[in-house]
């Protein structure tokens, strides 16, 4: 179906090629997962498949890309629209119309599909993607998961045989992600579509893949058997990490297989006396309270984004805020940071209301790293950005730069912030916020687009911050991150706190929020691979 021969891509002005000597054959009816660290060339590879590279992006493409018998040298993306459907990471940026039905019809209209055929296909697509209920809704009213499903439906309706998706679930909560992935699974298995997707959250997708392609520094492997690929891949989900450490072969990729393999491990762990002690409850009552939220109500338009939320957070702890897309996580963080006014109720951080403090006093008390870290960056080089931050927070010269070095290692100061990798950009934003030495550090969805090594570094930093006496609050969909770093989990739904408790109680009991290790070792209260190793060490 897809054949790449000797493909190399060099963007204009780049010193090194983004892809080198790619020879790849993808058969029809396969779900192929593209795996690699950030900046390895995954997106470039995907964008060559429908000709966006080089027709839209510029740069030079050598070799040939042939999809369904059409060469992208002779066919522009628009000429391949009936063959290859391309779904971008952020669905809202790709919507051309206003309502669900119109958006799905748009592609068919440009392709000139017969009106009667169009009606039929539209109805079918609505059913396949489970959107029939939403057909006349405005796109802006939908949740993130629904929007992503619409954007897939919109390319699907045009009748392509190949679907290419760039991180389709990175912005979604676990349940919405599962919805999208099972829809893709159905397309491959029931209808014989060919699907190529890139995703950082491997724990969500690896069990759905028929083949895995590894990308590293612009070099692309042949399609490998998933278990084989995971044994080699530098980025891998916790289930693979556990399997590797336990020496299981072949590596199990689904929870079901891993549970079957883990029978003896569970027995061994259960026999240990202090197995549940892996997550020792941290000095709770003793440490002072830094954040207290009392019956907080925030109304946005006619919607009550938060209703009567009451909670307290103490110094020296990491708290995770979880919940569906649109549950009110970001609103809660914004209210704590004084970005939003409370409709009623109160927020107090370190004894004062952040809303009443002047901005330059507020940043000493509470710092927020927003979801889109680009919003914090203005300068044209990393060094200039750091100097500006020192001035903004009246910190000693070099403070921000030193923080950045501590968080992300050496970063080239001459680089433009936009050219940094996702992980480095987050590190820069975090360093800027930390330059103000806020007592409370808030992070909104920090792991979007981060690969596992970058995530591991983030975990280390957050633990250090908590150890230094900061209160850290993270809003995230990433259960694996929560399992690594948090001591407490707050789950929001429809603006209300539904669960608030210590991490092993909340995460192990929940089917949606349980991390992979917890699912494999249920009912043992272990959440991460490190927990397992730590529990085993004294035994051996």
């Amino acid at each position: 179906m897809i054949e790449l021969r000797g493909v190399g891509v060099t963007y204009a002005g780049a010193s090194r090629p983004s892809l080198r000597d790619v020879d790849l054959r993808i058969e029809e009816g396969e779900l192929v997962l593209v795996v690699g660290p950030t900046g390895s060339g995954k997106s470039t590879l995907l964008r060559t498949l429908n000709g966006l590279v080089p027709h839209f992006s510029g740069g030079t493409l050598t070799g040939s890309v042939v999809v369904g018998g059409r060469d992208t040298r002779a066919h522009r993306p628009r000429d391949l629209a009936d063959l290859v459907g391309f779904v971008v990471q952020d669905p809202t940026s790709a919507f051309v119309t206003d309502t669900v039905e119109d958006e799905i019809a748009y592609g068919m209209e440009t392709l000139g599909v017969e009106p009667t055929a169009m009606r039929r296909r539209l109805e079918e697509t609505l059913d396949i993607m489970g959107l029939a209920e939403l057909r006349d809704r405005s796109l802006r009213e939908l949740s993130g998961g629904q929007q992503q499903r619409v954007s897939i439906a919109a390319v699907l309706a045009a009748g392509p045989r190949v679907l290419v998706l760039d991180e389709p679930t990175s912005a979604l909560d676990p349940v919405a992600a599962e919805e999208v992935l099972s829809a893709l699974h159905r397309l491959v298995h029931d209808l014989g579509y060919t699907v190529v997707l890139a995703e950082h959250r491997l724990e969500r997708v690896v069990q759905h893949a028929d083949r895995i392609v590894l990308v590293r520094d612009g070099v692309v492997s042949a399609p490998l058997d998933p278990a084989e690929a995971m044994a080699l891949s530098p980025v891998h989900p916790p289930i693979v990490e556990l399997g590797r450490r336990m020496g299981w072969s072949p590596l199990p990729l689904t929870i079901r297989d891993a549970r079957r393999r883990a029978g003896s491990l569970r027995a061994r762990l259960a026999a240990l006396d202090d197995a549940p002690a892996a997550h020792a409850p941290v000095k709770d009552a003793a440490s002072r309270s830094l954040v207290s939220v009392n019956r907080l109500v925030v109304r946005r338009g006619t919607v009550e984004a938060l209703s009567k939320v009451t909670l307290g957070v103490s110094a020296g702890s990491v708290t995770a805020v979880m919940g569906r897309n649109g549950a009110g996580k970001s609103t809660l963080l914004a209210a704590m940071a004084g970005q939003l006014a409370a409709t009623s109720g109160e927020v107090s951080v370190a004894g004062s209301s952040p809303r009443r403090l002047a901005p330059h006093d507020r940043v000493r008390v509470v710092g927020l790293v927003p979801q889109d870290s680009n919003l914090l960056l203005y300068a044209d080089s990393v060094a200039a950005e750091c100097r500006a931050a020192d001035r903004d927070f009246a910190a000693a010269d070099g403070t921000t730069r030193a923080l950045l070095a501590r968080i992300a290692g050496e970063v080239d100061g001459d680089q433009h912030p936009r050219d940094l990798s996702e992980g480095q950009r987050l590190a820069l934003a975090l360093a800027i916020i930390l330059a103000g030495r806020p007592q409370v550090v808030l992070l909104d969805e920090p792991t979007r687009g981060l690969d596992y090594p970058a995530k591991r570094r983030l975990v280390g930093i957050l633990r250090d911050l908590a150890a230094e006496g900061h209160a850290v609050i993270v809003a995230t969909h990433d259960v694996e991150l929560v399992a690594e770093v948090a001591q407490r989990v707050i789950v929001l739904a429809e603006g209300e706190v539904v669960v608030d408790g210590p991490i092993h109680e909340v995460l192990t009991g929940s089917p949606a929020f349980a991390p992979q290790v917890a699912k494999i070792l249920h009912p043992l209260p272990l959440l991460t691979v490190d927990d397992v190793s730590a529990a085993l060490v004294p035994a051996s």
């Binding site: 429908n50 966006l52 839209f56 522009r76 993306p77 628009r78 391949l80 629209a81 009936d82 290859v84 459907g85 391309f86 971008v88 952020d90 940026s93 790709a94 919507f95 051309v96 206003d98 309502t99 039905e101 119109d102 019809a105 748009y106 592609g107 209209e109 440009t110 392709l111 000139g112 599909v113 017969e114 009106p115 169009m118 009606r119 539209l122 006349d136 809704r137 405005s138 802006r140 390319v155 045009a158 940071a337 004084g338 970005q339 002047a358 901005p359 330059h360 507020r362 940043v363 710092g367 927003p370 889109d372 680009n374 919003l375 914090l376 203005y378 903004d392 927070f393 800027i432 103000g436």
Partner: protein, 377 residues
């Protein structure tokens, strides 16, 4: 005109009908300076938006109205400061006058502020605000993206560009707001001129990113694909369309503005429209696009167009014939009368709130809330 059946089945009205109605009202507003009539037009537009805007559609009436209010304020403020040449007798306040060099002849800064000049400026602003409100109403009743579906192939590319630009403006405002609040996270207040300059870079970069994403998405979904015909035909088609559009606009200007005389306007308009029609026919013959579910054009659409065009035609005629109460006298100032016929014509435009079908989702929303309302009553 046969009594249009108030469509019992909810459906969306044809977007072209809404735009004809909106532009008709706007034209009427552009041809009078009577504040009563202008306020009546705003009320009519607002009422219809309340009655017929689909649930979830963008509410553009309010922002346009706010821009209009801003226009009035600006107009009045500039008049107070600079004067507008309306010779008034009732001096409200005497501002200290700044002596300007001689070569600034005809301009003054400060000086006496007369009631007449302020009222004239306010009415001028109101007229602009009313026109804007009418366009805002049309925008909210039928999104420009729906209108685009009916754009002929020749104009489709230009049309898409315009629509994307139109819908992009709100996104830009939204982005600016987010960047500003992010500024506060770095300890800045986000206000002041220097701060605004600081916002420009991230806002423009973000905006550029977004438009590139949208362009990539449109490209990979086949946008512009059917426009691939013979290169020459495309150029001829575009040239015809462009010159036709220019001709029509110039002609329209000639017809509408009384001062330049109507003699060149009409032939210009006719030939412009003819060129435009030719280009459209040429283009649509080769249009391979298809349309999903074209809205039907039935009696309510005809009625809506008629009710929008009625005040437009009447007021254009009334202004040309200098009916009393259409163009009000500014000096001496007097309470403007309420001319009967134009008032009735504008009031008639509100009938669309009854003759048009209710949009489907609004109908459902009402069906669910109405019983509850009755119970509480």
């Amino acid at each position: 005109m046969a009594r249009p059946t108030p469509a019992a089945t909810p459906r969306m009205l044809h977007p072209v009908a809404w735009w004809v109605w909106g532009v008709g009202l706007a034209t009427a507003a552009a041809h009078t300076t009577n504040p009563w009539l202008l306020l009546l037009v705003i009320a009519v537009a607002g009422w219809v938006v309340l009655e017929r805007r689909e649930v979830g559609a963008l509410d553009s009436f309010r922002p346009f109205l706010i821009i209009g209010l801003f226009a009035i304020g600006l107009r009045v403020a500039l008049t107070i400061l600079l004067g507008n040449g309306v010779p008034g007798q009732v001096v409200l306040v005497e501002l200290p006058q700044v002596r300007l060099p001689d070569w600034f002849a005809g301009l003054r800064l400060g000086g006496p502020v007369t009631l007449e000049s302020v009222v004239a400026a306010g009415i001028d602003g109101l007229r602009l605000a009313t026109t804007l409100a009418c366009l805002g109403a049309a925008n909210g009743l039928a999104s420009p993206r729906r209108l685009l579906r009916y754009a002929p192939a020749t104009l489709y590319d230009i049309g898409t560009a315009i629509v994307v630009a139109l819908t992009f403006a709100p996104a830009l405002v939204d982005l600016a707001g987010r960047v500003r609040s992010a500024r506060r996270l770095r300890g800045h207040s986000g206000t002041g001129v220097r701060e605004l300059a600081r916002l420009a870079v991230p806002v423009l970069e973000g905006a550029l990113d977004r438009s590139l994403d949208l362009a990539a998405s449109m490209e990979s979904r086949g946008y512009g694909r059917t426009a691939v015909r013979g290169r020459r035909e495309r150029i001829v088609g575009s040239a015809l369309a462009l010159s036709g559009a220019c001709g029509s606009v110039a002609g329209l200007f000639g017809v509408m503005s009384a001062s330049s005389g109507g003699w060149f306007g009409l032939p210009m308009l006719v030939s412009g429209l003819a060129l435009l029609a030719t280009s459209l026919v040429l283009g649509s013959r080769r249009d391979a696009r298809t349309a999903y579910r074209r809205d039907p054009w039935r009696a309510p659409e005809w009625a809506t167009c008629a009710l929008g065009l009625l005040p437009a035609v009447l007021l254009v005629h009334a202004e040309a014939d200098a009916w009393p109460g259409i163009t009000i006298t500014q000096v001496p100032l007097d309470w403007p009368p309420l001319p009967a016929l134009p008032t009735l014509a504008i009031l008639a435009a509100v009938l669309v709130a009854w003759v048009t079908p209710v949009p489907p989702r609004l109908a459902r929303a009402r069906a669910t809330t109405l019983p509850a309302r009755l119970e509480t009553a």
